[in-house]
């Protein structure tokens, strides 16, 4: 049984189709890159995985359970902008991941100092401990996104959703963020969906690259048909497919 299962999902805004006949099976621990032209519905698809929007038809299950109708702790999200809380210090942004689960949103006593230590460890790892007491506005774009990813991870989600997380960063920062994300993923082995405009980035980071496009196109009425997943590339092994044996061949097996 696959971990994330999408079955004939469609999404309409009014009578206008955005996505139609989307089917997808994803195993736990896979890194999925979603690419496609602007307005092809890949961000809409991500929002449906997040449960911020509900599909018009079809069903999405995560770990065998259907989505509940609202975002929850099982799926973390990092947006391109507005991903961290501007009114909390960098440390408090990480602590929020545990504090927000309490009744009033504040930790007390031992739990508080424990969360503080955990947050400091996390900040040490992502190289932000020197700005722990500052507000996010004082951070560069790359540092803010690192903080946003660390914050999402602190809630220990099963699935991490990234909506063009590095879209606003300069190329150098982007490369270091790729390394950061790869390391993090190797460590946790979590399932990741990432929307990106950068094909190279998609292939570099992803195990699979899904292309969203419209299979049918009416020149008189470009909005008549919705998009779906038109290609599903195997992006492992540097994008060269068929490098792994998937069935029992009894050949070249060391005994």
């Amino acid at each position: 049984m696959s971990f994330v299962s999408v079955t004939s999902v469609s999404k309409y805004y009014g009578s206008r189709p955005i996505l139609e006949h989307v089917n997808l099976e994803v195993s736990e621990g896979e890194f999925i890159s979603l690419v496609g032209a602007s307005g092809c519905g890949k961000s809409t698809f991500l929002r449906m995985l997040l449960d911020q929007e509900r599909p018009t038809g079809g069903s999405i299950t995560v770990d065998g359970r259907p989505l509940t109708g609202e975002p929850s702790q099982s799926r973390g999200i990092v947006f391109q902008r507005y991903s961290v809380f501007p009114h909390m210090s960098v440390r408090d942004n990480i602590i929020a991941a545990s504090a927000f689960q309490t009744t009033y949103g504040w930790l007390r006593g031992a739990a508080k100092s424990q969360a503080r230590r955990d947050a400091d460890t996390a900040l040490e790892r992502i190289g932000l401990s020197h700005v722990a007491d500052q507000y996010p506005a004082a951070l560069s774009g790359g540092m803010q996104q690192r903080l946003a990813i660390a914050q999402a991870m602190a809630a220990k989600p099963r699935v991490l959703l990234l909506d063009e997380p590095f879209g606003a960063l300069d190329p150098g920062t982007r490369l270091s963020m790729h390394a950061f994300l790869s390391d993090l993923r190797d460590e946790t082995g979590m399932t990741v969906f990432m929307v990106t405009h950068d094909l190279e980035e998609g292939f570099k980071l992803g195990d699979r690259v899904l292309v969203f496009d419209k299979p049918r196109w009416d020149p008189q009425d470009p909005e008549a048909f919705g998009a779906t997943i038109t290609y599903d590339f195997d992006a492992r092994d540097g994008g060269i497919p068929y490098q792994r044996l998937t069935e029992e061949t009894h050949v070249l097996e060391p005994h």
């Binding site: 609202e70 961290v84 009114h87 504090a99 949103g105």
Partner: protein, 271 residues
């Protein structure tokens, strides 16, 4: 060089800033002098020196009958009413604004109602307040509250709606309940906006306060102004007007620096 690119130096800015004040003062002094030259008994434009004398007498000399210095008693009474009115309004505005901005059910129920209610001219229902609450303190505070609360509710609910959706979604993915989202995300994010909205509503608040004091009161800055109007005591009126202006300015300044101090993350748009 284009005029939009020419900027005054620091010193020039200070000079330019004081210029309109000096100009108004000179214009008044000239006008006053011209009138007093024709008729030394003129009461309409008392000389600046006469106003200063009156001001000193007002702030230092106790009233013969009660023994209080009326100037300070008026100030205290008015500020108390204003503070109570604005404080109650801010609290109602904050709570209602949060509820309307955050909860679609509350929004569907009350946003239309608040829009209509904010169109009721507060001064038109002042007689009703006097009838219902009597001529005491309650009706004056109530007028300030009724006058500025609808604005505060509408402004704050709008500000809550302007908070990027991403932040609410993010909070939900961190496991926050509706209560936690309102306490830890929406509330702190609109607090600078609340102070901003209160600053904007201070002008109307003074208006409603002085109006209610003018009609029925025993003390208060507005009461005194309307009382001495009968004797054409322009020197007293002008002293009070300048004092009210100064108070309003200081209140605004205090709120602004409070906002800066409490919410350093808000930046310039939080001012």
């Amino acid at each position: 060089m284009r005029w939009i690119n020419r900027k005054p130096s620091r010193a020039a800015t200070v000079v330019l800033m004081t210029l309109p004040f000096v100009a108004v003062f000179i214009a008044y002094a000239l006008g006053s002098e011209a009138r007093l030259a024709v008729n030394p008994q003129d009461k309409l434009l008392p000389a600046p020196s006469a106003i200063a004398e009156t001001a000193i007498r007002l702030v230092t000399t106790p009233d013969k009958r009660s023994g209080d210095i009326l100037f300070w008693r008026d100030t205290f009474a008015s500020l108390q009413r204003l503070g109570l009115g604005v404080g109650i309004s801010a609290l109602i505005g904050l709570l209602a604004g949060l509820a309307i901005g955050l909860l679609p059910y509350v929004r569907a129920t009350f946003s239309g109602f608040v829009s209509v209610m904010s169109m009721v001219p507060p001064l038109a229902i002042l007689p009703i307040l006097f009838i219902v609450f009597g001529l005491g303190e309650v009706s004056k505070v109530a007028l300030v509250v009724i006058g500025i609360t609808p604005f505060l509710i509408r402004d704050l609910s709008q500000r809550v709606l302007e908070i990027p959706q991403e932040l609410f979604v993010k909070a939900q993915t961190l496991g926050a309940s509706s209560l936690v989202i309102s306490l830890r995300v929406a509330l702190p994010l609109v607090m600078p906006r609340l102070i901003q909205a209160v600053r904007l509503s201070l002008g109307p608040a003074w208006l409603f306060l002085i109006a209610s004091e003018a009609i029925a009161s025993q003390d208060g800055l507005g009461y005194r102004i309307f009382l001495v109007r009968r004797y054409l005591a322009m020197d007293v009126i002008l002293t009070y007007v300048i004092w009210i202006t100064l108070l309003a300015f200081l209140l605004d300044l205090a709120l602004r620096s409070l906002s800066r101090k409490l919410f350093p993350w808000a930046g310039e748009d939080g001012l």
